[in-house]
Amino acid sequence: MFQLSNDAKQKVLTELKRYESKQSAVLPALYIGQKENKGHITPDVIRELSKVMEIPESQINEVFTFYTMYNKSEIGKNHIQICRTLSCMLNGSNELTEHICNELHVKLGEVSKDGNFTVTEAECLGSCGTAPMMQISKQDGSSRYYENLTNESAMNILRGLK
């Protein structure tokens, strides 16, 4: 069963003291939990956080389900989020998503067979002037923007990640 490491527990405790209200630590704590569990959150993660924070599971769960950056199911080592909103769409994001999914043999939301990739579509990521673009997040939560993409440049980036 999933357990928070001591280091993670300490980090959660620090967050609890960081803000004027204890409840404000729920969002940062969910990030810590997600990082500990290979990039997604399960009921076990919430149970552990609830114990450390002394905040009811139901309250943490409600927050978890509201926000898109907490992953509801397993993700690959590289979570590729392709922006789909208007400025990116006008610059070919549909075609880019199609190309990437075909090349990686995945559909949206799936983990590739080798466990390396999950592709999803994201709503506007604030990179409209360098469209189309994708954000790639690692299971530890670190992430990076890749902008002004073409089908070729995107695949070169992905091949470099494996």
């Binding site: 960081r18 803000y19 004027e20 209200s21 204890k22 409840q23 404000s24 630590a25 729920v26 969002l27 940062p28 969910l30 990030y31 409600e62 927050v63 509201f66 926000y67 898109t68 950056m69 907490y70 992953n71 509801k72 199911s73 993700i75 789909r84 909103t85 208007l86 400025s87 769409m89 006008l90 610059n91 549909n94 998503t97 199609e98 999914c101 075909n102 995945v106 559909k107 949206l108 939301g109 799936e110 999950t118 592709v119 999803t120 994201a122 709503e123 506007c124 990521l125 604030g126 990179s127 409209c128 002037g129 360098t130 469209a131 954000q135 670190s142 992430s143 990076r144 923007y145």
Partner: protein, 440 residues
Amino acid sequence: MTASASETKYLSEFYHLPEFKNLDGYKNNGGYVQLPKALKMQPQEIIDLVKASGLRGRGGAGFPTGMKWGFLPKNNEPRYLLCNADEGEPGTFKDRMMMEKAPHQLIEGMIISSFAIGCKKSYIYVRGEYDDSIDALEAAIAEAYKAGFLGKNILGSGFDHDMDVYRGAGAYICGEETGMISSLEGLKGQPKLKPPFPAIQGYLKKPTIVNNVETLAAVKYILRDGAAAYRKFGTEKSAGTKLFSLSGNIMKPGNYEVPLAFPLKDMIYGLGGGMKAGRKLKAVIPGGSSAPVLTAEEAERALLDYESLAQMGTMLGSGAIIVIDDSKCMVECLANLMHFYHHESCGQCTPCREGTGWLDKITTSILAGRGRLSDIELLLKVADNMKGKTICALSDAAALPVLSFVPKFRDEFEYYVREGKSKVKGTAFKTPSYLSAGAH
């Protein structure tokens, strides 16, 4: 005319210098000169100066900043300043540039503003995806503490102030000020009914001022140059410069700083380098995806200020200009936006939750070639019923694109429904093969 269009780099004067990001580079270019000056003034003098400057909120609604500050209770009750760096309005990417290139500019503006409103604690709520912005701000805040610009008894003035960054977690609705407050409280980011306005009851039920990144960054310049100098830019009611985010089908997309009332056509054909070879302008969304669309002919005569755009039935919003050329299908563009609003509705209010669902469904079914002529009227009717009835403005924001796209480009909608394909592209939208039930 257009060929000579140039920027007015006021806030963005030093953004080309990589060192402007760091404390030393910032100080070498006029940084932290206004803060000591401000700390020797009376707080009310600063508020009056901001009022006199005509500065209006750069986050979308354009509310006069000094007036908003004036709504705070006149007592010693603890209060908060919350910087809105959620930047979720499609087409907008200026705040990200400001935070990455000039974090100290925002921080200095926030300390001065906090002193003016008597606030000891401020937060910058940054959208969760903006890793680089968060890193830049955290590093800069640490530098500012070390240099004595934050913390206890700042520069011997007796004024204490702490500042922290809060990371969002992916929800457009947290850009709405009361949604942001809920989120900062560690809850679902659901907006709350106003009144009470945040200036009376905000974070943890305490008075809270919410201002956009660009608004707060501008404060220091008003202090430096005075209200009259600031008013030299723009018009009587739309004073100052503004950063516009230009994107879509345009040769040179990017952020451009110009005085308000700058002609939209100079933005597109001058600074933006015009349309791609062989393409013609069809439509422009002038203020973020929620702003009603302009036809090419309207865009030719539009000026980029609050009043001029309101007169044309649209708005300046966040200053995000999305350009659409003649190779693009307006039905597809509208369907794209309706998917966005449906995804982002927080679901509290029935007209918004149900309405965005219907708009998404109807536009998607038209795209798939399954539309009927009656669907066009239905779109207008659903959108009309979403206006002015909800807790926050997202519902209106979703309705406005429909109420402008459909009447202004009706022929494209009717053709699509009649022929089952796009008038512009000659084909129907192909449902992509990558779609699956996968949930994220």
